[in-house]
């Protein structure tokens, strides 16, 4: 047998390693005892984002609300400026 063939055999031997049949059961047993993977806090935010993302109307409402808050801040700023002017501050 040529050495090149033995080299190819060696590679094949290393490609044929199989997992033990109990591995899946052992991993799942460990996982049942482990902490839950997602915390409630994360789940709540994920659900909220998914909920907003699911509806076009909710997205439009969110953009609208952001716009109203933005415009409100500008109007309030001008209002304060005028009030200070009138008071002579």
């Amino acid at each position: 047998m040529k050495h090149a063939e033995i080299y190819r055999d060696w590679i094949e031997v290393h490609q044929r390693v199989d997992a033990h049949p109990d591995l899946v059961a052992n991993v799942m047993r460990e996982i049942q005892q482990a902490e839950p993977v997602a915390s409630e806090h994360v789940s709540m935010w994920v659900r909220l984002i998914e909920w907003i993302d699911a509806s076009v109307w909710l997205k439009a409402a969110a953009v609208g609300a952001a716009g109203v808050i933005g415009v409100g801040r500008i109007v309030f700023g001008i209002h304060l400026l005028l009030a200070f002017r009138l008071l002579g501050v």
Partner: protein
């Protein structure tokens, strides 16, 4: 067959049992990778189990936009294997087994001896060369995936594999020379 990302969504929404699908899908490649990277049959199942458990407990940190789930899983496995190998006594090329002398069932003995020498030579390679060689040659991963796992450039992966192959070729050449 469900996509990895769909399964991960189910797990993150509390369906722990869905993780079984990922274990069934990746147990073969993972055990093979751990076995080939550590060079040891004993303990590779335990290490593979540790990798799956680590993947499960850190699943929220997996970002699908950055890599495939398999690449992320193999990165965890690679790190655990590197740590496991560090704990063992390093093998050097000078410790390659002595060549068998005399006659006998020559073909089988030669084959066994050369396979053993290749295994020892693989174990003696520097960790980064061994990892790149194992992932590409035994696992069939692309250079790109290995570069992601090793957090390096594709060119570096290629040169590591070439150096590993050169060292293995040296073992083959030396064996041939000793036999002739």
């Amino acid at each position: 067959m469900a996509e990895d990302s769909a399964i991960i969504d189910r797990i993150l929404n509390g369906d722990t049992e869905a993780f079984r699908l990922l274990v069934e899908r990746y147990q073969g490649p993972l055990v093979r990778m751990v076995r080939n990277l550590t060079g040891s049959e004993s303990g590779c199942e335990d290490l593979a189990q540790e990798v799956f458990l680590a993947a499960y407990t850190h699943l929220t940190s997996y970002d699908p936009s950055r890599s495939l789930f398999s690449t992320w899983l193999f990165t965890i496995a690679r790190n655990k294997c590197v740590n496991a190998v560090k704990k063992k006594r390093p093998v050097t090329l000078g410790q390659l087994p002595e060549r068998a002398g005399g006659a006998g069932p020559i073909v089988d003995a030669t084959r066994r001896e050369l396979l053993a020498q290749l295994d020892t030579a693989l174990a003696a390679l520097p960790a980064e060369q061994r990892t790149a060689f194992v992932l590409v040659t035994f696992e069939g991963l692309s250079y790109e995936e290995v570069a992601q796992i090793e957090k390096t450039r594709i060119g570096t992966v290629k040169s590591r594999i070439n150096r590993a192959k050169a060292k293995l070729a040296e073992v083959l050449a030396k064996f041939k020379e000793d036999r002739s």
